[in-house]
């Protein structure tokens, strides 16, 4: 049985939208919190408005409100319980853990049903059936019909999802190359741009993307690769609330209001009606309690065995990525510092702007711009974009370190070089540079350790490095304890020797 991962749905049209969505979510919380009266008891429900329509999205007419079929279903459950629904924004990947912590009563946002979820939490009856479908470019319609047709090709999906797990399984069989994204928009834009050859995702998301692109650019293969279900999740201890919610869901299936909701959001089909019938008749025969307490034996050990090699591979990616980015940062830093110290006013002004822009804007935004923003001009592979993004960003910080170090070398050292007949370039290379480098060493080491950690940001442009792999692992085993310890140990294994090495080098030089 494949280990099914939790699905993460993040709707990221472009970098700034993340900030906007976060702001909206915060605003929502504030407004709701203040407007809420104590008249009715609340049903706090958690979801991720970044997931977008038709699941949960900020209402364009009133961004302090959310809408979507999950929003309506949450309202149905609340009404059925005689409570007032209150939306709580939560990052998609954290919904399960937040509900278990008691941050809210129920989590919904297109959560995939899977055995692990049922083993750890109280889970509602599935309220929607979806299909994993394959999207390909129109020219490949006849060539790539099924996953097995895609041997050696790059296939995109959301990271840590059932679809991603399917791709990993297929990788073992046919050598297909899974590419994981943090959002469900860019897999399709990269498909159209030719960065990947296919996308495997829920039919709802695939159809939504196709609509956004005006119905062209890619086609959806009619044959579903798999079938899955959306569920609502409650804390393990809250099975009673789950049972009440199930009653309400069944009633809404019977009276057609669930159908109306799905129709309103354009995701209804006759097959869905047949599915509802199956759910209702199955409920009459066997109560769901039994199935839900069945634990998954040995899941932890199996996960460790499965994920340790992946974690180590990811650690190597983190290390290689950090080293390359640092090499670029040092080169850029030296060039920028030299330009700012020695260059004519125009060069100095341009470089100052560069440094201030790089230091004054989030590196996350810079990664988005380089990978997605520039894809019309130059289509960089993700890894190269990650190295360039981190390298250019850290280069700005390095340049400030080098500039300060260069300026800390006394003028008399430079004048001594001049009276000896060394050229300005030789003075920089033989006198000023080497002495400045010693001053810069400690702050450089700090920066490299920081870069090692910041390299986790590149998961937003589909590079699966150590932190991302750990998050995937943690979501699967439903705990951060073991993955967290392993991940920390790996980061420390890199950063501690590095600090030691720098300290020794410094001692050696200060003894000199």
């Amino acid at each position: 049985m494949p280990v099914r991962a939790m699905m993460r749905r993040t709707f990221l049209p472009r970098g700034p939208a993340i900030l906007a969505a976060t702001a909206i979510a915060l605003l929502t919380l504030c407004v709701r919190a203040s407007a809420q009266s104590a008249a009715k008891p609340e049903l706090r429900w958690g979801g991720d408005a970044e997931g977008g329509a038709p699941f949960v999205e900020a209402d364009p007419a009133d961004p302090s409100k959310v809408r979507g079929f999950d929003v309506e279903i949450a309202e149905m459950i609340a009404r059925g319980l005689g409570r007032e629904p209150r939306f709580i924004q939560v990052a998609w990947a954290s919904i399960e853990q937040s509900v278990e912590r008691g941050d809210f009563d129920v989590g919904m946002s297109g959560l995939e049903d899977r055995p692990e979820l049922r083993a750890r939490h109280s889970v509602s009856i599935p309220y929607y059936e979806f299909h994993e479908v394959l999207a390909v470019r129109p020219a490949d319609r006849g060539r790539y019909r099924k996953l097995s047709d895609l041997a050696g090709r790059r296939v995109a999906t959301l990271g840590a999802t059932m679809a991603y797990q399917m791709l990993l399984d297929e990788q073992g069989r046919s050598g297909l190359v899974p590419i994981s994204y943090d959002d469900d928009v860019h897999p399709y834009s990269d498909l159209v741009a030719g960065r990947v050859d296919a996308v495997l995702l829920d039919n709802i998301i695939a159809e939504r993307s196709l609509r956004r692109m005006g119905g062209s650019g890619f086609i959806i293969q009619p044959e579903a690769a798999a079938t899955g279900h959306y569920v609502a999740v409650f804390s393990r201890a809250n099975a009673a609330l789950r049972d009440s919610a199930n009653e309400i869901l069944r009633a809404r299936m019977r009276d057609g209001s669930l159908e109306q909701t799905f129709r309103r959001w354009g995701v209804w089909s006759p097959a869905q009606g047949a599915y509802f019938q199956r759910v209702l008749s199955a409920a009459a025969q066997s109560p769901e309690h039994e199935a839900q307490t069945a634990a998954v034996p040995g899941a932890g050990e199996r996960s460790l065995r499965t994920y340790l090699p992946a974690l180590l591979r990811a650690a190597v990616i983190t290390l290689v990525l950090s080293c390359l980015a640092m090499a670029l940062a040092v080169s850029v830093g030296i060039a920028v510092a030299a330009g700012r110290v020695y260059g004519p006013p125009v060069v100095r002004a341009v470089l100052t702007v560069y440094v201030e822009v790089m230091r004054g804007t989030p590196v996350l935004l810079q990664l988005f711009v380089i990978y997605y923003g520039l894809s019309g001009v130059i289509r960089l592979p993700a890894f190269a974009a990650a190295v360039i993004g981190l390298g250019l960003n850290y280069g700005a910080y390095e340049s400030e370190i080098y500039r300060a170090a260069l300026q800390a070398i006394p003028r008399s050292q430079l004048e001594a070089g001049r009276t000896l007949g060394l050229s300005e370039w030789q003075i920089l290379r033989l006198v000023r540079g080497p002495q400045a480098l010693r001053l810069a060493l400690a702050p450089m080491t700090n920066d490299f350790v920081a870069l090692l950690k910041d390299s986790s940001l590149v998961s937003v442009i589909t590079v699966v490095e150590l932190t991302k792999q750990t998050a995937i692992y943690a979501t699967n085993v439903g705990s951060w304890v073991v993955p967290g310890i392993l991940c920390s140990a790996l980061y420390l294994a890199f950063s501690l020797p590095l600090s030691r090495f720098a300290r020794r080098l410094e001692q050696k030089w200060s003894a000199a």
Partner: protein, 252 residues
């Protein structure tokens, strides 16, 4: 033309004249002391001759290479001057990241293109003459003030300049070392026909180690002549003042 010839040197900073109408010559083989109170303009003369700062009037000629008023020429145009003029800074300014030996060989190897072997030979000979050969592998911070100064002298002399400039060489030395420095400089000059221009407060050092003395006061050359004569028989009030204050000068 040989040696150093300074004619009508004038340096202005803002509205202030720092040097005015300075005429000054140093012959090969001659050690000339440049004396005056703090702020008299001694360092400005040395820095102008070493082309470390611009001057506003007159000319400076070193063995036929002439500097003119205006901004300091680019380093690439000063090759001839650089090979003819060496300078020892007040705070020695050795390169902190290099050993004594590497400090001395740096310019011969990189500016003059000598082989390392030749540069090392010359450097070791100089360090030996200056009595610091045993410190060749030491880093500047490991050297005493006197040792560091001798290494700095070796570094300045390695390219075999015809003129050596020294800025307050005795300020960091105790009296015994000052005498020894005077002897060493004498040996270094008289053999090779090299001239030296040394700025100093130190009357005893000037008297014992220098052939000639030039007195500056407020940017003007007020008196010059053989060191013993001028210092034994000062005519200008500024010179007399220097002699009076010798005990509380920084050098004392």
């Amino acid at each position: 033309m040989s040696g150093l010839n300074v004619t009508d040197l004038r340096v202005v900073r803002g509205t202030r004249e720092i040097l005015r109408d300075i005429d000054l010559a140093v012959q090969p083989g001659e050690i000339c002391a440049l004396m005056g109170a703090s702020g008299a303009g001694k360092s400005t003369v040395l820095r102008s001759v070493a082309a470390l700062q611009a001057f506003d009037g007159g000319t400076i000629d070193v063995g036929g290479f002439t500097l003119h008023p205006g901004p300091v020429p680019r380093q690439s145009r000063l090759k001839e001057l650089r090979s003819r003029v060496g300078m020892v800074f007040q705070a020695h300014s050795l390169f902190e990241h290099l050993t004594a030996l590497d400090n001395v060989t740096l310019a011969p190897v990189h500016a003059l293109g000598w082989t390392r072997a030749k540069a090392k030979d010359v450097a070791m000979k100089l360090l030996e003459e200056l009595g610091v050969a045993h410190r060749a592998t030491a880093y500047p911070r490991e050297l005493s003030g006197g040792e560091a100064q001798r290494v700095a002298i070796a570094r300045a002399l390695a390219p075999d300049p015809m003129l050596l400039l020294m800025d307050e060489p005795t300020s960091a030395l105790d009296p015994a070392r000052r005498g020894a420095l005077g002897d060493t400089l004498g040996e270094l000059t008289r053999g090779g026909g090299r001239g030296m221009l040394i700025s100093t407060h130190d009357v005893d050092f000037a008297r014992s180690a220098c052939d000639r003395v030039v007195i500056l006061s407020q940017g003007v050359l007020v008196e010059e002549g053989p060191a013993r004569e001028v210092l034994a028989n000062p005519r200008h009030p500024a010179t007399r003042e220097l002699l009076q204050h010798r005990d509380d000068s920084p050098a004392a």
